[in-house]
Symmetry: C2
């Protein structure tokens, strides 16, 4: 049985996405164009992201900080690539406290400028390094077209900013962070990813190079999911971050920055969700299990409460749905909300000393003996659900990854089905542009340590230098 | 022995405060006027506040959300008292993505407008109520004079916004929140507070009434520490939040809002700190204990690591100070940073099977047998430190609370020492103004359920209606 309030994802994927966001009450449109409201169900997911990814970042020596929301124009202008990339899309504060400001201030679109300015003041010797800072905040980019979570003017993210005494250490950080993002996606979100380096035209404004992780949605569209930038000395030269190195010489420091935003909530929806709503991967689900009593019955209510207490004591977040709705409605609602496990308690079951456990990923119902060690059983089941979601997504990614030797093959693939398209590339900008004519294919990343397969550029047929994955993107 | 880098608080309290903020690396000035950078030590305290107070709010059914940063001018203008109170001090975005905006947007100074607008869309019947939302974010008010944590243009806070079906329930929420704030201050921050109702001239713009908790700093200056506002139907009428009540009639909803900001980090500094730096109350201290090995010695290093592992396993956050500094420097640094407990490990002690435990609050050093249950011992000690800090602050508040029957008495008190001044009040605005001439005395709060003591207004001598606490404020 399918939830009738939700458009089928195979009928109209964009409408399905909007329906799930709305019906699962993840986000609402606000009266401010391009800015969404994260409602409790959506924000709870973002809090779990902060806990889990934040924990991984702290465990690797990163410290949380909070930098200002506003950037003075002169500070933004110091690094010329960055300002070229971001100045056209920022929001400017020109009036404060009823007075025209002498210098206008932009709302941060990203904070390299502010961190670099701070680093220039506090970094003096190699003993002060490395500094590995991170902040969870919102940033603002004046996008024209917006969609909840995927693209909005204000969005939430974490941005890491680090300074190092050597290029090698900073480059290692750039790659280490990519590994952390990959582990977070695969082990926590159950989303398989590919990783690699952005081409020159797709890299971050001001970076020496940008690494990326890319995920594939149900419909074959790819989503740039997190990026890690190596800056070399570009910002330290622009902002004068110098330190006394171990040879007692003044040297410009080496920097990185990296970020992951709340668009990953869009990825969770579009990778795992189905026609009945959201499916939350267990390790990020704020609530692991919902308990539904069937009918009004004292024994049922008592059993529900006992199970709730038992699971909570074992650290499994859960609640009893006590709303005045029918059991059928509650079942559907738990599916819309993507809660990994539903425990159904009915009188007949109870009399047979059983309860029913429904898993969200497969919608399978399992009759379980009440005497088993339920917390242990559910913990195992949550592990199974995670594994199944991951395998399902990986199998889909495999199925939707294609190889193209030339434009005709790429066109034939895209005519049938969007996906990751592997194709060698000569390295020329024109060929990247040429590929965009094929249904909007853009380079997702250069696969590092992978030799070109055919040796010929998919666009021009000349000698290839890189193995590249192409795809259309959100 | 006193830390020479820190001005004595009895010599120059303002300079002492600035020194502690800087040397404990809680915050740095940014290049954006009036906006500070919360450095790792400062932000870690704010994270603990979010954990602890956030946990108390969640336990009482409040849900976290994230609303937009910007408010369209027309939305801000709907509630006339609010706009009168806040419009003069907001920052306006007038340009976005290189275009002059048709309607300017202000950076939220507080978010009643946005929440009310949302509530008007989602609240339909009494079954949708109550909604109890909270968000942790930063807000912006264009202050002229700023001081780290105490007053800045951008500051961090939580703002709660709730909607209810009855006035009684909303009023109960207003008071319940004040109790939560009080419990947080006393049980977590070890800061005693007084509580009461703001006078008409001091209440929040747009509120029916405002409740407040007020704390007293070391120098006798008071700090408004958190406020809780009852709105009645003012905002629901302005923003059209109507619901079908249990009698099947359309009714305007009842609202509250309440907030506590990162100025409480200023309160922690000024209530507990001393001439050696910060003193963090144990329940909010991100690190409970620092371990310092004396001299370079393998046995010492090994013992330090063992103790670190032992404490961490018991859930006591701690670290070994492994910097290349002298033990004396490390001792001083741990005091500057306000870490509640320092464990000193020296060779001579070790040979006698002892370690030294130094408590930050009293600076007492205790020789402890290595064979005792150290985690249990330290947990008790942390409890003692909390209790001692609270008692010390309460004793000070008692000592600095005075009673004045008339202006002459109030003047005599203020000539000697700032503090809380209890004085009855007739209720007239002119008398409040009159009190300001006495060294800037302002009404802190009306004590509820307390009868006027003298029956005469401290300012005019006419019949008193309220027992009021007066004080000078940050």
């Amino acid at each position: 049985m399918k939830n009738k309030a939700i458009t089928s994802r195979d009928v109209d994927f964009a409408q399905w996405y909007t329906d799930v966001v709305r019906i699962a009450r993840l986000a609402a449109y606000s009266n401010v164009k391009g800015c969404i409201i994260m409602e409790p169900n959506g924000y709870a997911i973002w809090e779990e992201v902060q806990n889990k990814l934040g924990g991984m970042l702290k465990a690797t020596g990163h410290q949380n900080v909070a930098f200002p929301l506003l950037i003075p124009e002169n500070l933004l202008n110091k690094e010329k690539e960055l300002v070229k990339g971001f100045a056209p899309e920022v929001a400017w504060v020109t009036v404060g406290g009823q007075n025209e400001l002498k210098e206008k201030l932009c709302i941060r679109p990203t904070s390299e400028t502010l961190f670099s300015d701070y680093f220039s003041q506090v970094v003096k010797t190699h003993k002060d390094l490395p500094l590995k800072y991170n902040q969870w905040c919102s940033v603002m980019r004046w996008e024209k077209e917006t969609r909840p979570f995927l693209r909005s003017r204000e969005f939430f993210w974490q941005e890491g900013h680090t300074v190092h005494a050597t290029a090698a250490e900073a480059e290692k950080e750039t790659y280490d962070i990519l590994d952390i993002y990959k582990a977070f996606f695969e082990d926590v979100l159950a989303i398989p990813v590919i990783l690699g380096r952005k081409t020159e035209s797709e890299k971050f404004a001001g970076a020496d190079y940008t690494l990326t992780i890319e995920a594939l949605m149900y419909n074959g569209v790819s989503l740039q999911s997190a990026t890690s930038h190596y800056f070399g000395q570009r910002f330290s030269e622009a902002y004068n971050i110098r330190f006394l190195n171990i040879n007692h010489e003044m040297e410009y420091a080496y920097q990185t920055s990296w970020g992951m935003s709340n668009r990953i909530i869009g990825a969770i929806i579009m990778v795992h969700g189905d026609d009945n709503g959201l499916i939350l991967p267990p390790h990020i689900a704020p609530t692991k299990a919902v308990i539904v009593g069937i009918g009004e019955d004292e024994a049922v209510a008592k059993a529900a409460e006992e199970i709730e207490a038992l699971l909570k004591a074992a650290g499994i977040t859960c609640y009893v749905d006590r709303t005045e709705k029918s059991a059928g409605y509650k079942f559907a609602q738990s599916e819309v909300n993507g809660i990994p496990i539903r425990i159904e308690i009915g009188n007949r079951d109870l009399n047979a000393n059983k309860i029913t456990v429904a898993r969200r990923d497969t919608r399978e119902k399992i009759a379980v003996d009440r005497n088993i060690d339920l917390p242990a059983y559910l913990t195992d089941l949550l592990g199974d659900i995670h594994k199944n979601l991951y395998e399902r997504a990986r199998e889909r990614m495999r199925r939707l990854t294609f190889a193209a030797r030339n434009k005709a093959e790429a066109e034939a693939i895209m005519a049938k089905q969007a996906g990751f398209v592997k194709g060698d590339w000569c390295g020329k900008r024109e060929c990247e542009e040429e590929m965009k004519t094929i249904g909007g294919l853009k380079s997702r990343c250069i696969l590092e340590g992978v030799a070109p397969e055919t040796g010929k550029c998919v666009a021009c047929g000349e000698e290839a230098r890189h193995a590249v994955v192409w795809g259309i993107q959100y």
